[in-house]
Amino acid sequence: MATEERHNPFATAQPAGDGTTLDQQERERLRAQPLWRVRLKLLAGTLWNNWKLFTENKIGLIGLAIILFYAGLALAHPLLMGRVWDPLIYDPVIGFDPLAAPHPAPPSAQHWLGTDPLGRDVLSQLMFSTASEFILGMVAALITVTIGTSIGALAAYFGGWIDTFFMRLADLVITLPAIVLLIVLGGLFTLDLPLLALVIGILSGFGATTVIIKSQALTIKVRTYVEAAWVAGGSHWHIILRHIIPNLLPLTFLYMMFTVTDAIFAEAILSYFGLLNIRMSWGLMIHTTQSAGYLLNFQTWWLIVPPGLSITLLCAAFYLVGRALDEVVNPRLRKR
C-alpha cells in the first residue's frame, strides 16, 4: 500500500496513518528536497511553457530550422574533410583541383557548387565559413548583451549623472562612423575574427542596445516588488542583481538574436570591401569573385549566389527567431 502511494500520491487524498493528508506529505517531501532541485524543476517548467509559446508562432520554427541546417553544415565540414574529401583538392583556402580546369568551373558531381576563380571548391568554402559566422555572431552578441544589460540596469537604477553619461555615450557611439572606425582599426591592428567580434560587440553594446534595455529597466525599477525589496532592506546590488537584471534577461535574449544578425551582416560587408584579415568567410567569397572580375558576370552564378544567399538566410533566420521570442517575452503580443 505504501509503495503504491508513493507512485501515485495524488490518486487519493485520504488521511494517512499519522493524520496528515497526502497533499501535505507531498509538500513535506518537496521541502525535504534541496533547494537547487526545486529551482531546477521550476526553471524546466518555465522553459517548457516558453517553448510551447515559441512553437505557436511558425516563423520562429522556420528560423530555427534554417539555423539548424547551417549548424549541420558547419559540423559536417570537418567530418567531410577528414573522411571523404581530399584536403589537397577540397581545402577551402589552399585547395586546388587541376582536373576541373578551366576555373571557375560550373557545378559538377565532384564540385556540387562548382569552383571559384582560384580553383577551390565553393561548397567546401561555404561550409568552412559557416562555423566562423556562428562563432562571430555568438561572441559579439554575448559581449553586446553583457555590456548592454549591466549598463542599462545601472543607468536606469541610479539615474542622475550615470544615466546622462551613458546615454550621451550611446549618442556618440551611434553617430560615430563605423566604417571609418573599422578602417582605422584595420590599419592599427590585424583585424581578425575575435577582434572584429569584440569591436562589433562593444559598438553595439554601448550604442543602441543599451538605450533600449535601459528604457525597459526604467519600467522594472518602478514595479512594486522592487519597492518591497527596498523596504525589506535590500542593498542596491541585491536589487540590481536579483530583481532588475533577471527581469531584463528575456529582452536581453531577444536583442542577442538581433545582434547576431548585425554581426554576421557587418562581417560580410567588411569582407566584401576587403577590410578584414580572415582566412575564409562568406563576405570574402564575394570579395574574391569581385576582385577576380566575375561579379557582374551572371553566367558564373555559383560564385555569388551561394554566399549571398547564405548571408541573407542565416541573418533572416536569427531575426525570425528574435521576432518569435518577442512574442514569448512580451505578453501583450500573444494570441491569448
Binding site: L172, F265, I286, L313, R323
Partner: protein, 383 residues
C-alpha cells in the same frame, strides 16, 4: 519642459564637440596621409610630394592641425577638400547632399507607407498563412546582403528586362547639349517635390472636415490637379526630358531601397498594433457597433503610430549619411560615396564635413524624438 530642453541642448553641444574631437583623432590615426597617395606616381618627386603635403598643412603636428580645425570650424569654415581641390567642403556637400536626400527620403517615405499599410493588415488578420509568407519574405528582404540584392535587381530590371538604366545619375549622351547643368535641373526637381508636398498637405488638412465619401473624391482630385500643374510647368520649361532622365535613373535604387526597408516599418507597426488592439477602448469601439474598418483605421492604427513615427524620424535623420553600399552598387554620386572615397584617400576635411552634417541631424533627431514622445504620450514626463 523648457528646462529639460535647455539641459538636453547643452548635452548635445557637449556630445557634439566630443564627437568632433574623437572623429578627428580617428581620422588622424589612420596610417599614412593624403600626400602618400602619389607614392606610386613616378613623375612626382619627393620634393613635390613634400610640397603637396606642406600646402595642405599635412607637415604640421596633428595636435596643431586639430586645434586649427576646431578654430576654423567655430568661425564657420569647414576648409577645402583634398581630393576635389580647390573646392570648399561645403560646396561639395551642397552638391552631393540633395541627391542623397532625394534618394533616401523618397525611399523612406514610400517604404513607410507600404510598411504601415501592410503591417496594419497583418496585425488585423493575424495567424493566416499569408502573414507567415509576408513576414518571412519581408524579413528575408530586410536582412538581405545588400550588395548582392542590388546586383540582382540590376541584373533583372536593368540588364535582362532593360526597363531602367544600369546605375549612374544621368545619361551623358542626352546631356551633352543640355542648356543647364544637371544639378540645376535636380535642385528644381527637389524644389518641385517640396512645394507639391506642402501644397498637398495643406490641401488635406483644409479638407479634413468634409465627410468621408466626398473627401476621397476631393483628395484624388487635388492630387490629380497638382500632378497636372507640375507636368504642365515642367513641359513648358523645356527641361522636361532631362528631369525625366534623372527620374528614370532614380527609380531602380528607390525600388531596391524600398524593398529592403519596408519590413522594418511593417513589423514595428504589426507589434504596436497588436498591443493597441488589447486596449479597452478597442473593446468599447466594438461594443458601440462601429464598422471593423473604422476600428482598425481610426482607433487602432492611429494609436499604434507612435513608435512607428519615432523610427521614421530616426531614419530620416540618418538619410543624409546615405547608404555607402547602395550608392556604391548603383554608382549614385551622393554623400555615401563621398564618405567612402574620402575615408579611403584620407581626405580629412571632406570626411569631417560629411560627418558633422550627419551628426548634427542625428543628435537633433534624438532630441526631437524625446520631445515628440512627451507630447504624444502624456504619461511620459521629464522632470
Amino acid at each position: 519642459m523648457a528646462r529639460y530642453i535647455a539641459q538636453r541642448l547643452l548635452q548635445i553641444i557637449l556630445t557634439f564637440f566630443l564627437f568632433l574631437a574623437l572623429s578627428y583623432m580617428l581620422l588622424e590615426a589612420m596610417p599614412g596621409d593624403f600626400s602618400q597617395l602619389f607614392l606610386q606616381d613616378p613623375k612626382l618627386t619627393l620634393a613635390q610630394r613634400e610640397a603637396i603635403a606642406a600646402s595642405l598643412g599635412l607637415n604640421r603636428p596633428p595636435h596643431e592641425r586639430f586645434f586649427r580645425y576646431i578654430g576654423s570650424f567655430l568661425r564657420g569654415d569647414l576648409g577645402v577638400s583634398f581630393q576635389y581641390y580647390p573646392r570648399p567642403v561645403v560646396d561639395v556637400i551642397l552638391e552631393r547632399a540633395p541627391r542623397t536626400l532625394m534618394l533616401f527620403i523618397s525611399s523612406t517615405v514610400v517604404s513607410f507607407y507600404v510598411g504601415f499599410f501592410v503591417g496594419k493588415l497583418l496585425a488585423w488578420r493575424r495567424g493566416r498563412v499569408l502573414e507567415y509568407i509576408t513576414t518571412v519574405g519581408g524579413v528575408t528582404l530586410y536582412t538581405v546582403f545588400t550588395p548582392w540584392f542590388g546586383l540582382l535587381m540590376i541584373w533583372l530590371f536593368a540588364f535582362t528586362l532593360d526597363w531602367f538604366p544600369i546605375g549612374k545619375f544621368i545619361t551623358p549622351r542626352l546631356w551633352r547639349d543640355a542648356p543647364v547643368e544637371a544639378n540645376v535641373v535636380f535642385n528644381r526637381m527637389l524644389l518641385t517635390a517640396l512645394v507639391v508636398s506642402i501644397v498637398l498637405l495643406t490641401w488635406f488638412i483644409l479638407t479634413r472636415r468634409i465627410d468621408t465619401r466626398r473627401r476621397r473624391v476631393v483628395h484624388w482630385g487635388g492630387m490629380g490637379l497638382g500632378l497636372a500643374v507640375v507636368v504642365g510647368i515642367w513641359g513648358a520649361s523645356g527641361l522636361g526630358p532631362y528631369a525625366l532622365n534623372i527620374l528614370h535613373h532614380l527609380m531602380l535604387p528607390v525600388l531596391t531601397l524600398t524593398l529592403i526597408s519596408f519590413a522594418g516599418t511593417m513589423l514595428l507597426t504589426r507589434n504596436s498594433m497588436l498591443e493597441t488592439l488589447r486596449e479597452d477602448y478597442i473593446t468599447t469601439a466594438r461594443a458601440k457597433g462601429l464598422p471593423e474598418k473604422v476600428i482598425r483605421d481610426k482607433h487602432a492604427a492611429r494609436n499604434a503610430m507612435l513608435p512607428v513615427v519615432t523610427s521614421l524620424v530616426f531614419s530620416l535623420a540618418f538619410a543624409l549619411s546615405g547608404g555607402v553600399i547602395t550608392e556604391g552598387v548603383f554608382s549614385w554620386p551622393g554623400m555615401g560615396e563621398v564618405l567612402l572615397t574620402s575615408a579611403v584617400v584620407q581626405d580629412i576635411p571632406m570626411m569631417m564635413g560629411a560627418l558633422i552634417f550627419t551628426a548634427i541631424f542625428a543628435l537633433l533627431a534624438h532630441l526631437v524624438v524625446d520631445i515628440l514622445y512627451a507630447f504624444l504620450d502624456p504619461r511620459i514626463r521629464y522632470g
